[in-house]
Symmetry: C2
Subunit: 134 residues, 2 copies
């Protein structure tokens, strides 16, 4: 079934607490993972919680990456949502796994925007080819 | 099964093209939907594509909202990821549906960070109670 987007829901369990508490590292890893996949970053927002934990979103030309960490559980919830054929999600996943060091991982891959459900199946002109600053 | 987060994956099919092309409206609807659910917005980033389409992420104290639109298909992919017991996802969904006017919708609700999978099941101190500027 053809779809507009690919969405990988990633669970990282058993990450070292010192890694999960390093907010700067988390932000760096997410950005580098996005680049490793071939994505084009167009904006991001990372938020640090008190006493620890981070929520981060990266908007890419091809959709988004997000992360939420619970250092007290050694857990990170990561989403990789991409469209088009140019992104290699596995490269992003491998980069994250290498740097966030989970003892266990779970992934679910979903298709978003399945074409057979579209009301307009043959649109004229395709958007999201080029991007402009918002 | 207890989990740290609730994730609702929403598909809006058959939205009016003029609604999907109105980037300011999309951003306003997403922000208002987040507020309607009881979420606390801590940051956001919206990106407008050429010739049309928007990708937007809102970081909330309780995780995130995201949206990606394909006006040429009348389609929007929306994610509502929340933690804690204070957010009413249905209020956000209803608000979005009322303003983005899909002819058909699909939702999948998932639990993220299932507690039985945690390596540290009884952490001392819970994060994400209060937030500080990043």
């Amino acid at each position: 079934m053809k779809a507009l987007g690919q969405h990988v829901l990633v669970e990282f369990y058993g990450c070292p607490e010192e890694v999960m508490k390093d907010n700067h590292l988390i932000e760096k890893v997410m950005n580098e993972a996005a680049k490793a996949s071939g994505a084009t970053i167009v904006g991001s927002h990372f938020h640090t919680f008190n006493p620890y934990g981070v929520s981060g979103v990266i908007v890419i030309a091809e959709s988004h990456f997000t992360v939420h960490t619970w250092p007290e559980y050694g857990y990170a919830a990561i989403d990789i949502f991409t469209c088009g054929e140019t992104i290699d999600n596995l490269l992003a996943f491998d980069y994250m796994k290498r740097h966030l060091k989970p003892q266990n991982t779970s992934t679910i891959e979903m298709k978003r925007g399945q074409l057979q459900n579209m009301f307009n199946k043959n649109p004229q002109g395709q958007a999201k080819v080029t991007s402009v600053p918002s």
